[in-house]
């Protein structure tokens, strides 16, 4: 693999934040852990919205499904889930260290695979929709999922589930989840970076540019769309499992399927950084998360207004996002060639 200079700078920065962050600022460990979840959110959303041109407003569905699948596996391996949830945390349900770790790692695996399968099956339904209809259709699915889980007593209904308690200190817990979140985001990034170098990368770009043409050329469009969504769901499932366990308590509307917070953040972050680029979602997620945490800390009461302003400015004046703007300004840095002859012709004409 060949690395560009600016890309090496990117990796250096990420590794520095990733490794030194929790060591230098131990008080912010869980905030930085959430930052990695945000990076994962933006990257998985961009695979659909940016690279493939399918703006999903319901990707949060797989965050929630991962959270619930993981919880069911973690509890179900050792107890009866229905009994556990009806006791709201279970008075005598105790997990040993070994049970906890076996549970959480099986849970994360099941969350990833389960969410990917869920995406593949839902894909058959929603990929008949395009453009704004796809966006609204997926949004509807995510909202419906939250409501459905809320009525399903076996998984605790609207009351939620208290997850197995981490067998160790509070610091130990935040360290444990920090490294898992960092690893999950890094894996997601490296995976998509590789994926975009394969035929798959060109195929989803072709679907974005002109899906009818891709169909007329015989491309397996549904296959590519389904796989793209399933891969996104795979990593979102992991993030859901991690976030649920980090929080310790999950319920459908605010934690598992937060369509109007995390569900919108993932879109806003990708747009801010520059959709359809590899590094845009990473940059967007970091900026967005830092601004969000800063406003929450120092301008409480104004935080939604600040975020709303960013989104509006981004959409109205700056649609290409930061990396997209840089690509237009310095295309050669990104390996994009410009038509120098056409440029000369234009300037020549202007000079006459």
């Amino acid at each position: 693999m060949k690395f560009h200079k600016s890309e090496l700078f990117g990796y250096g920065t990420l590794l520095t934040i990733g490794i030194l962050g929790p060591l230098l600022f131990p008080a912010y460990t869980s905030q930085i852990a959430v930052l990695w979840i945000m990076v994962l959110f933006a990257q998985t959303w961009d695979a659909m919205g940016g690279q493939m041109g399918y703006n999903s407003l319901g990707n949060i569905l797989f965050f929630g499904s991962g959270m619930y699948i993981s919880a069911i596996v973690q509890i179900g391996l050792f107890y009866d889930v229905g009994v556990y949830t009806s006791a709201f945390g279970g008075d005598d349900a105790q997990f040993t260290s070994a049970q906890y770790y076996i549970g959480i790692f099986s849970g994360i695996g099941a969350a990833a695979v389960g969410s990917a399968i869920l995406a593949a099956s839902l894909g058959w339904v929603v990929f008949g929709l395009r453009g704004p209809y796809f966006a609204i259709g997926t949004l509807g699915m995510a909202i419906a999922a939250g409501e459905l889980i809320g009525t399903w007593d076996w998984v605790g209904g609207g009351g939620g589930i208290a997850l197995p308690v981490f067998p160790g200190s509070g610091d130990g817990k935040s360290q444990f989840f920090y490294w898992l979140c960092f690893l999950a985001a890094a894996m997601t990034f490296v995976f998509f970076r590789w994926l975009y170098t394969t035929r798959f990368g060109l195929a989803v770009n072709a679907i974005r540019d002109d899906e009818d043409k891709a169909e007329a050329m015989g491309l397996h469009t549904l296959r590519h769309k389904t796989v793209a969504w399933s891969i996104s769901a795979f990593f979102l499932g992991i993030s859901g499992a991690l976030f649920g366990n980090m929080t310790g308590f999950i319920e459908p509307l605010e934690v598992a399927f937060p369509t109007i917070t995390f569900g919108i953040f993932m879109v806003a972050m990708s747009l801010l950084g520059g959709k359809g680029t590899l590094w845009g979602p990473v940059l967007g997620a970091i900026l967005f998360h830092v601004i969000k945490e800063a406003t929450w800390t120092w301008f409480l009461g104004w935080q939604w207004i600040a975020l709303g302003t960013i989104i509006i400015v981004n959409i109205v004046f700056f649609q290409q996002g930061i990396i997209g703007w840089m690509q237009e300004k310095w295309p050669e840095m990104f390996g994009i060639e410009v038509d120098s002859t056409a440029a000369e012709e234009t300037t020549g004409r202007a000079g006459q």
Partner: protein, 247 residues
């Protein structure tokens, strides 16, 4: 000589408008067949019916003997029959080479193929085809930056990259300047002779179609008006009245 496409009594209406009324044509393998007619005579509708873009009301369409009128666009394309669009369609944000690479034949694409990189052969063929249409110098440019005529050439090259048996071209010379047209006619003929691709061409430029086609069908008002060699068509009184006008 075998027949590649056999259209038999195909009708297609949009509401009360009968776009195609019991059209029967056949496209012989290895030849160049032309399709002409005034605007609104149903040429593009017939193309769309053949490639599965919309269902037909009645009749039958066969490709190499296989009934295809119930198949979907992608399935038909993978059989080896491609069409280009009247309004040129390319992948505007991708560069020319990538436009070519994504157009490799998908006939035998397996599930895991999508995770493979393109072979060196693919890349060489992509560049060779770009050279064939005269776009090699522009290969790294985003295709959306090309002029309309160049985009048409790119779309043609993409179609060749797909190695179809049959290519349906919807007005390949529309919007191309007269000097480029001669080059394009030459390339269409070479695609036919060198690559062995059967062509079925909608064309309004009479000089082009008379020069190019082995046989020509003429539509008017959704009905088949005439069929014959270019000479026969040029002297057919019905065609002159409906379309060509008196010289």
């Amino acid at each position: 000589m075998t027949t590649l496409i056999e259209v038999e009594n195909v009708s297609k209406s949009f509401g009360g408008v009968v776009a195609n009324n019991k059209i029967s044509i056949s496209v012989p393998e290895g030849k160049i067949t032309g399709l002409i007619g005034p605007n609104g005579s149903g040429k593009t509708t017939l193309f769309n019916s053949i490639v599965g873009y919309h269902p037909i009301d009645s009749g039958s369409i066969r490709f190499k003997g296989q009934e295809i009128s119930k198949l979907r666009v992608q399935q038909i394309a993978r059989l080896g029959m491609l069409r280009t669009f009247q309004q040129t369609r390319i992948y505007a944000k991708m560069n020319c080479v990538n436009n070519m690479l994504i157009s490799v034949p998908h006939r035998n694409a397996t599930f895991t193929d999508m995770f493979r990189p393109y072979s060196k052969e693919n890349l060489e063929r992509a560049e060779h085809m770009l050279e064939f249409v005269g776009l090699y110098q522009k290969r790294k440019l985003p295709s959306g930056d090309l002029s309309f005529g160049q985009q048409k050439l790119l779309e043609f090259a993409m179609a060749l990259m797909n190695q179809p048996e049959l290519l349906l071209l919807d007005e390949p010379t529309a919007g191309i300047n007269p000097t480029l047209i001669n080059g394009l006619i030459d390339r269409l003929k070479r695609a036919n002779t060198e690559f062995g691709i059967t062509l079925f061409v909608i064309e309004h430029n009479m000089r082009v179609v008379m020069n190019l086609a082995d046989s020509i069908y003429c539509l008017a008002h959704g009905e088949l008006l005439a069929h014959g060699t270019p000479d026969q068509i040029q002297n057919d009184q019905n065609v002159i009245d409906a379309y060509l006008g008196a010289h």
